[in-house]
Symmetry: C2
Subunit: 188 residues, 2 copies
């Protein structure tokens, strides 16, 4: 009986160690524009392994639709995937535990979108500015401002092209040649 009490304490200690990790991950994901409770959900899956929606609900004390939408958001970020437990009916979900893949999935997606969106906006604005600059009628002061904006934009095009190449080098794994992952000596 005394012994079983001790076991509860050890169990408690294990859980609190998990919570430290979960909170820290949630705080980090908060920085990336992921809501804190979704971050907590990710952290929980990270330390607990694959889970069903009901297990999440129970663990986090939240409603099932919350879990459902939370998981969906994490799937959008490509950091959670569906799995299935053999023989079981319920769907289970598993968090990406490899942060290198997390990094790759998250940032390439984000940056690709940024590049696409902004380059297309720049192209469209650029054309409009060109029309203005080439027109006979427009005042010189307006033309000059248009040219000034084009100068700024041309600088930012360089950036987006660079960012695109960075994404590419992450996707091909080239970046990891330049900045290698340290091998661990003790493991395996």
């Amino acid at each position: 009986m005394t012994d079983s009490h001790h076991q509860d304490e050890w169990r408690e200690s294990l859980e609190s160690a998990k919570d430290i990790i979960i909170d820290s991950l949630a705080e980090t994901m908060d920085l990336y524009g992921v809501t804190r409770s979704v971050g907590t959900l990710y952290g929980t899956m990270y330390v607990e392994g694959d889970m069903t929606l009901d297990e999440m609900r129970e663990k986090l004390g939240m409603s099932k639709p919350s879990m459902s939408t939370g998981v969906r958001k994490l799937q959008e970020f490509n950091v959670v995937k569906k799995t299935h437990r053999r023989g079981k009916r319920k769907q289970t979900y598993v968090a990406e535990k490899d942060f290198f893949r997390f990094f790759t999935n998250f940032f390439t997606q984000q940056w690709e979108r940024e590049v696409r969106t902004n380059l297309s906006a720049i192209e469209s604005a650029w054309k409009q500015l060109d029309m203005l600059i080439q027109s006979e009628e427009a005042e010189e002061s307006i033309k000059e401002e248009a040219r000034e904006i084009q100068r700024i934009l041309s600088q930012s095009i360089k950036y987006y092209k660079w960012l695109g190449r960075l994404v590419e080098s992450i996707e091909t794994g080239e970046l990891f040649k330049y900045i290698p992952v340290e091998e661990d000596d003790k493991e395996r």
Copy 2:
């Protein structure tokens, strides 16, 4: 008179070109967890050059305290700085137009914080798990779970160390040797 009407149209066209850029930037910054209106503020400063709080207020049709807090947030991200117009009393602010510096400032800050936060959490959790593993009393099943979590954590330590080195290579400019910025042929 007809001519002046035309000038208004050109002016309008110039403004709408600016708006395309502003919206696109705001949408992007939204991805980074910056609120949309703060993103719009940044975009406006980006195309308009340095501005006073009152000019921002007028341009965006918002209150002055909003501008004040918005500018503050952008300063936290290191993407807006104070300046002064010679001879003028009002404080002016200027947006970082060089997106390479923007990238550097923003992500090194964000990632450094991530590394610091998580490594410290891992260290703390690790110690707690060690105590558990080394104890005589704790059940083997609990110990095994603790060891499993340590295995996962040791993987993630590798990641954070790598991320730290990535930050370093951005700060020293090394990354830009690996992935060079394309020189522009036409300009200057």
